[in-house]
């Protein structure tokens, strides 16, 4: 996916991050928080441009850095947002941070969604849990340019209602009539009146047509596996399905070696891939 | 067909695979191999270049029934693993061999002349048209070997006679120099040694008792005993993790030192530790499959050391 130019990261010193400051922390769920930040150098915040789906490395010097999808849309010029699930060493330290705290960021990296090539098409977005982060950026970007696309349908699943992120945004999405937003949780839950069931089942119950459509999915590996199967069953071709992946990364610039899937590097060739490019290699999760 | 190959073939009645050696055409010496069928075992060899301790593969073959060709010292590693419940005795058939004493192949190659066929007969080792006394190129552990007879063994597959074992050597070379060093000199010695360490973890991976492997604390970020830096200070600390976890477990097979690509004399640390443990607790790791490792237990009468 070399459709999106890379801007913002220091070309001369790509491994050196820019100091930034957290301006807001939003608690999204039991172990997910969104961090809004601005660069300490105001010139960078102003010039910062990226495509939905691009990633960044946010870290705390002295602890380390990790890769996250940018979850704010390109039109958001006041800050950039990363949504972080607490899983390991670095993310646990990040979760301790509050507004006013300092971080260091290398972004944007990788290639985003080729949104321009989707003009006029029906868009299907399928997210699961924290996998909604890059899709939030994409969805809000599409909503910014809503007229350029056909129908827009979003499936968003999580284990429990509490695990569904972006509560504030969801209310807006659900209330718009130019988007069909379907949230689902795995099992019935007190106080939950929405859909229940796994994402692939919910898709199968309201099957989207593959004609003139693209499908984008991001979520836990097991959800992706069954969602891909469900989409292919409906007639979506490999070239019509996009996904955005996450691998362990260190450098983010295609040098350190660990994030490759075959000859493709998730950090520079991805994280957005069409299924076509991966030749289904991602399905067993081992490469 | 020789008796050794025949013995291996017979064990296939009971096992899924057999760990042994074949001769590498490129290296000219024996290299480890897995035999999955009796026919593959036709290539099996046993000679004085079978220095590898094949026991390293046992813990990762859990679930399979494995035959393993074991020298006396290798058998001690098996016994220790069994004592620690890391290997299920009932799924291992130990094919014991009587070891003639192994040649330190690196020494023999003298670093160039890789692949020169080494011949070993009549107490002389020949290579490169030169002949040396066997004792000169034996592995350190083979001098004064106490383990000619495998401590744990199901089938015997021949090998050398006991008379071939070389007598213990007076400490020579680096061991002699090290013994005479002051603490300050030793500190400098380890500074120099560990400044060469590249943290390839060949020491750990070649060690039959280091069965944590993938989860090893030497590489863990949390707890952070050592950072990832490839640097004398961190490498020193990382190696001490291994040495300390080897306390009362190391059977002295010397595989870590043999595997080390930059020639760090790790056995200086382990030999000393093993000696201290033998002195304090009268224990040699791998003495048998049913002993209690000394650091996993205690004795209220241990106070004879007069610590305070």
């Amino acid at each position: 996916m070399s459709t999106v130019p890379r801007k913002g990261i220091k070309a001369a010193e790509p491994l050196v991050p820019e100091p930034a400051t957290i301006i807001d922390v939003i608690k999204e769920g039991p172990n997910i928080r969104s961090f809004r930040l601005i660069f300490d150098d105001p010139g960078i915040t102003t010039a910062f441009s990226f495509a939905p789906g691009q990633i960044g490395l946010m870290g705390i010097p002295g602890v380390g850095e990790s890769t996250f999808a940018i979850s704010s849309p390109p039109s958001q010029r006041d800050y950039i947002q990363f949504s972080v699930m607490k899983t390991g060493f670095v993310t646990s330290a990040i979760h301790e941070l509050a507004a006013g705290d300092a971080v260091a960021v290398r972004a944007p990296l990788g290639c985003g969604f080729p949104v321009d090539s989707w003009k006029g098409k029906n868009i299907l977005i399928v997210g699961g849990g924290i996998g909604m982060a890059p899709l939030r950026s994409l969805l809000m970007h599409i909503l910014d340019r809503r007229k350029e696309f056909g129908s827009l349908r979003v499936f968003y699943g999580a284990r429990t209602p509490a695990d569904l992120c972006f509560a504030g945004d969801r209310v807006q999405w659900e209330n718009r009539d130019d988007i069909e937003f379907i949230a689902t949780v795995d099992e019935k839950h007190p106080g939950w009146s929405g859909h229940t069931g796994l994402v692939p089942q919910v898709i199968a119950a309201q099957p989207p047509a593959p004609e003139n459509a693209v499908a984008v999915t991001c979520g836990p590996p097991v959800m992706i596996k069954y969602t891909l199967a469900a989409l292919q069953q409906l007639g979506f071709t490999e070239a019509q399905i996009y996904t955005t992946l996450e691998r362990k990364m260190k450098c983010g610039i295609g040098l350190c070696g660990r994030c490759n899937i075959g000859a493709k590097y998730v950090c520079i060739d991805g994280p957005v891939f069409s299924l076509d490019e991966l030749k289904n290699r991602m399905v067993d999760g081992r490469w | 067909m020789n008796e050794f190959v025949q013995t291996i073939k017979q064990t296939f009645k009971e096992v899924d695979l057999v760990l042994g050696w074949v001769r590498s055409p490129a290296a000219g010496v024996a290299v480890p191999a897995c035999f999955h069928t009796p026919a593959q075992a036709d290539d099996a060899v046993f000679d004085s270049t079978c220095m590898h301790n094949l026991v390293v593969h046992l813990p990762r073959l859990a679930g399979k029934k494995v035959g393993i060709v074991a020298k006396g010292c290798d058998a001690r590693s098996i016994a220790q693993l069994v004592a620690e419940h890391a290997v299920d005795r009932s799924r291992v058939i130990v094919i014991g061999v009587h070891c003639p004493g192994m040649i330190d192949v690196k020494k023999a190659w003298r670093c160039f002349g890789f692949g020169k066929r080494i011949s070993d007969a009549g107490g002389r080792v020949a290579m490169e048209g030169k002949t040396v006394a066997r004792e000169e190129v034996l592995l350190q552990k083979c001098r004064g070997c106490r383990d000619w007879e495998p401590v744990i063994c199901d089938v015997t597959a021949g090998g050398a006679t006991k008379a071939a074992t070389a007598p213990p050597a007076e400490p020579a070379g680096i061991r002699k120099r090290f013994a005479a060093m002051s603490p300050a000199e030793r500190r400098q010695f380890w500074q120099d040694q560990f400044s060469r360490c590249i943290r390839c973890y060949a020491c750990r991976e070649a060690c039959p008792l280091c069965f944590c492997r993938d989860q090893c604390a030497m590489q863990a970020r949390d707890p952070g005993w050592a950072t990832a830096a490839i640097d004398a200070s961190q490498s020193w600390m990382a190696q001490l993790i291994r040495i300390s976890h080897m306390a009362g477990r190391c059977s002295g097979c010397e595989e870590c030192e043999r595997a080390c690509p930059v020639g760090i004399p790790l056995m200086l640390l382990l030999e000393e530790q093993n000696a201290v443990i033998e002195e304090l607790f009268g224990y040699r790791a791998g003495a048998g499959p049913e002993v209690k490792p000394p650091l996993l237990t205690f004795n209220i009468k241990d106070d004879a050391w007069g610590e305070s």
């Binding site: - | 000199e185 380890w190 000393e272 050391w305 610590e307």
Partner: protein, 143 residues
């Protein structure tokens, strides 16, 4: 090296030795201030690697103290500690660390005076070793 700049790390068990040190402090007994105390639940918690890590990070001496044998709060933690620490003590010379830099002992909650004396003695001992071998730390050489 002046005594004030010495860095000695003490691993003290919560139940006996820490209380003993506390007693010495409350009784205002004079002790060298080079000792940095780390309270641990039991001397059995003291992995020998903690001692080595302290040396790696630049400690000049390490002292470990627990309950007297037979008095362990947990029954037998110090018996395990005794085996490990004795082994460690005997391994230090091989590493090029003068064994005088390390001491393990047992101090009860009522032995405040003994604790003060012990710290004084150990500090003096580390001081003497330090003069003979000032350069203990393995040096880092990252470019």
């Amino acid at each position: 090296m002046p005594r004030e700049t010495l860095k000695i790390v003490g691993f003290l068990c919560n139940w006996c030795s820490y209380a003993g040190a506390d007693m010495a402090g409350m009784a205002r007994m004079r002790q060298p201030d080079s000792l940095r105390i780390i309270r641990v639940p039991c001397s059995g918690r003291v992995d020998p690697l903690l001692v080595l890590k302290a040396f790696q990070e630049g400690a000049d001496g390490v002292l470990v103290s627990g309950c007297h044998p037979g008095d362990c709060h947990y029954g037998n933690g110090n018996y395990f500690a005794r085996r490990r620490l004795e082994l460690l003590k005997r391994m230090l010379p091989v590493l090029g660390i003068d064994p005088g830099r390390f001491h393990y002992t047992w101090v009860s909650a009522s032995e405040g005076a003994r604790w003060a004396r012990l710290v004084e003695e150990f500090t003096g001992q580390v001081e003497r070793v330090q003069e003979a071998q000032p350069n203990l730390k393995i040096q880092s050489r990252i470019p």
